[in-house]
Symmetry: D3
Subunit: 256 residues, 6 copies
């Protein structure tokens, strides 16, 4: 076990400024773990579909390469779609943690099955694909949604929480879920209220808030000296690339 | 069945000019089907990893949106990694065909199992992920590689073909493959030679050349009036996006 | 790509004469593709169970062997149970296309999941078995039925279409289907009406009419020179067979 | 538990007379269980492919319907391809047991994994399909073959047994099998010798001889009053059928 | 086939005396099969969770080793949780049959899918795990419960049977089950009534009473000379063990 | 995130004293995390089969209940067989972490596939079962073994490490593993040497040392306030139990 302080960086893969507030990031720190963050420079204002995730990926990779250059110990991508997860893992050696993939694997550890409660119905295929690639399709009971856009989640936070409880109850009682994952990192901080709401209905299941979970797992990986396999994610070959000047090339590529 | 001429566009998702030659594209035409092509403006010189696929995606989406604006009937992405397949399917209503996904589904139709013979070992996880998302993991016998970079495939074409036969024989005899898929669209035109090489060894299996296969399937889809599900791939929401001026926004988004 | 005209034969595997009408077959033609058909001489009047499918198989194989003798380029079996698909693929070298298997693989290409809407509840195990053998069980959301016998589908066509819409809506909203397959080739020609009915309910998903889809895919396979794997479907050995005089033996068998 | 004598009939689904010898059938009896047999009237001389299995099915169904008429308690189909299993289960209420399906489920009960050692390489897809339909694909380690035609198995029985041991050893040591199934009922009676051969190599695994296993399971099902589900296998509808005069129609169909 | 009488022992893995009545055990005998039973000396009064199953396992293993010493031919564990199944299979050579695993494999043989109707909701994960280890997860339609504790099942047997029918109907109509398994051996003897109740609702599916089924299969295995694979379940190594004096050590271990 | 010190207890589920050395446990501590340990009082001297795991479970549960009584924050079971994991999770509310299950889920997060390199060949089914229950069977490339008993691992540590490297190389090159898990917690401390050995062969994959990994994950779970689902693992019912006086009964059971 490493004994020094671990530095985890949270990469916010959207161009809306101020989405992730300083006090929320501060709350992610703990003894021996400091947390910083960065926002991407090119990409969508929020991520609610595959198209936006694709436009977020290049900027996210750029910030992850920069984080490793700065000496950060581990990185968390601040979106449940894990945009840029696989591409960025090729470009660095520090652990890159996707909160979507990580929440599913932790949920599979804690419960027999789990459901994702997310913002929009259209994200269902995307979460089922995340489960398929993580290898835990058989553990995913359902994907449910409250049908509130990401940037509107906080406009009536009590209603958002009430709807999360509502859908989580259905996930447990109708779909057979035995753990709940929030399907949007914009729901950060709602876990305690949702867990209380479930307990009030007699339902005692873990409610996974993906960013705290991902930060804790990222720090744990750095602590024990583990990172993504370079057999799965080898360095990209040196090669000319047109049009992405923000991406630093640690692996000797000639950028145009 | 539509009775008019179908226009299929092949989108070459790399910035190396002249990779796809006019005579090769001409050979993809047939009665009632014309084929055009376009190359992307930003992205990598070739695609050999997830990082490069991610950088190819935005430019590919831009060209697919443009193709629909021009009245093209169906689009084929000219790379076995299917870069931009899911994002672009959200942005248009014409069928977008990924040669990787399509070759696997056709192989599952024609044979009990199939193997992919590709250029580089590092692409194995990516092809296994394509199979997982297409739902045919159980049909994929193996992913094998000849270990030749994409842009070097044609420098000694006889050697390339010989190595393809070699690996295909191993796929059949050692891994249990009953159909072969080329795992790189840079191998266009090698299928006849490889099939002959296999027959000479007493092995009679389909050898799927992914671009002809994808063009034929794309034309078939347009002919019967089918395209990707808009339940799986709904239009992206209108939203501000920073940094991708080449992407036309047919869905009313405000670009910066 | 072959440049000449492709000849696709539709084999109707039932003994009821006139089930498949000439104008419906004509509508399956397109530039470069002609369509003929044949009906079997021994077997059931319609196919609604495994027993009838088994009795349809020998006659179907006989007509497929005859089609290859006549120089046909590809064959489509006109029943969603794909009767005789595997046996006949062993006996010929031209592509034999089963509309059930092919519709599922095309649906897996176009949507995240699909449902089959068929005539009778009793066919559910059979369609789930087709999905299992095609390797796409994970993509099959549900099998639903309108509970109308095959030969009665056209007696009140408006009611049939309305019930198809009804079940397709349930497949999408309750079962999570993102594409719809008709589970009986007797529904040929209903796709446009059902798709309209779904759109009127705000549901935009592909509706796959299995025979047009199978004919287009059969022609595409012939166009690119692909057929079933002879490693999966090698020629039967020469052998004495008792009782099937209609089956021509291209492979040197001694019939009694 | 029924307390009377159970009558099991073995249906030999080939037209070669005398293939199944009386003493071998006698050896299948035990306290409270008598065994009779019947051979089909139309079909192939032996079954080594899907084509032959399809031609064997109608005659097999005919004999199974006749067995129920005669008051037989349970039926076993004497071929590892289980020809006619699903069709015949629809037509009768007594249990119909397929030795292929049953051997796989018993092997899954006794060992962590199993392999099939069969006669010809071409049968591999067929056995993998049997496993898929039985739902135990994950338990099937491999399908191996000795490459001897069915009717030649007994011409040099010592060599046949030696080759069975050879392939079984490879199945265990190379493929991870922990139980062995004979993949041809023509191997009846070889189990003891093969098990001894394996023990001599230090390998202690069950060797399942499919016909004794199927007869014992068939008798057990009859003893406890279980048979195939009529929800999965409901009676065929009454319907005109052309060309199968040998099939008695217990369900009120009008034969031509 | 062995021709002598088979002796099957039922091991009751709970410490409540008299739970399994003599007449019920007598009813499990049949021509050529005698049945005895034994109760464990240490463990829980009944088994309704994983904790109790774990405490039942050592005592169950002790009784199974003793049974082999006494010359018993096969053993059945009298609990659907199959407590001690894998551990005890390592310690003996006679077949050890778990009614949970065996019922699922027989159900997979008889029907396309099956459901378990058990006593308590909390047992769902445990049954799904049994299916996963048996390799038949894809065949398990659902696990339903009547919410009656094991030792209270017989206090109002008519109500218990009525509730079993109720849940079995839902399993068939809502979950797609095509066979029913009782999920508690305490329901022994209810199968006829439940099957009648289902037939009265027009539902004709097998109702598997796990103990009669397991005894019949155990006898069948002994009859054909099959037992668990010693490759999967090799003898434990000789080793010091603290605290289990009741376990006889046939394999040369030094107990304290 | 909790900000106070987390107390993790390692439960050594064997009766051999001194197996886990104080300095090895000290090395598992880190800023904000203290580690204690306990050994069980009844059970086997080491765990190398299912029988021994079953005898270890009751004593392990006893120590885990005691740990929660003492105010410990999280528990790790010190054996890759995860003995007592499911039973003990029912009896406490603090997170109980099994190193086998946890290593597999972390490996699935870091690499495309993983292999387990363990001590004895006989453990393969057990590890495959762990993967099946964790839901990641599709990620497990192979289970390999060095064939050294647990208590002999340290007698020639250099040879043990060399053999671990040897098997890990085969796992990567022959079986397609992209991450390595040690399949015995007795290998604690060998990870650095094995990773170096692999790098010397040009293989750059994570080598997961299960106990440090489990302790880090246990602390992370406690830090974010997550534990096993009480829907999956509800408290056992109050009930008489015979013969386990060491188990404290926090849930009101009457022990004899």
């Amino acid at each position: 076990m490493r004994q020094d302080t671990i530095h985890v960086r949270v990469i916010v893969p959207i161009t809306t400024r101020g989405f992730r507030r300083p006090e929320a990031l501060k709350a992610l720190e703990s003894p021996g773990v400091v947390v910083s963050h960065a926002e991407i420079d090119t990409g969508p204002g929020s991520i609610e579909c595959e198209f936006e995730a694709a436009l977020a990926a290049p900027g996210t990779v750029a910030k992850i390469i920069a984080a490793e250059h700065e000496g950060v110990d581990a990185v968390v991508i601040d979106c449940m779609g894990d945009p840029g997860l696989r591409p960025s893992r090729e470009t660095v050696s520090i652990p890159v943690i996707g909160p979507g993939q990580t929440a599913m694997l932790v949920a599979a550890m804690l419960g027999h099955t789990f459901s994702v409660v997310t913002v929009l119905r259209r994200l269902r295929p995307s979460f089922e694909n995340t489960a398929a690639l993580a290898g835990v399709s058989g553990k995913l009971a359902s994907v449910r949604s409250v049908d509130i856009p990401v940037l509107a989640l906080e406009s009536d936070l009590d209603r958002t929480k009430a709807m999360l409880v509502e859908e989580a109850v259905k996930a447990v009682e109708q779909d057979g879920a035995e753990a709940i994952i929030f399907g949007c990192t914009g729901l950060l901080g709602c876990a305690a209220a949702v867990r209380e709401g479930l307990l009030a209905r007699g339902i005692d299941v873990p409610v996974i808030d993906p960013i705290p979970n991902a930060v804790a797992v990222a720090a744990a990986m750095a602590r024990v000296g583990l990172a993504q396999s370079k057999r799965t994610y080898p360095m990209p070959p040196a090669k000319e690339i047109v049009g992405y000047p923000a991406i630093e090339l640690p692996f000797g590529m000639a950028a145009e």
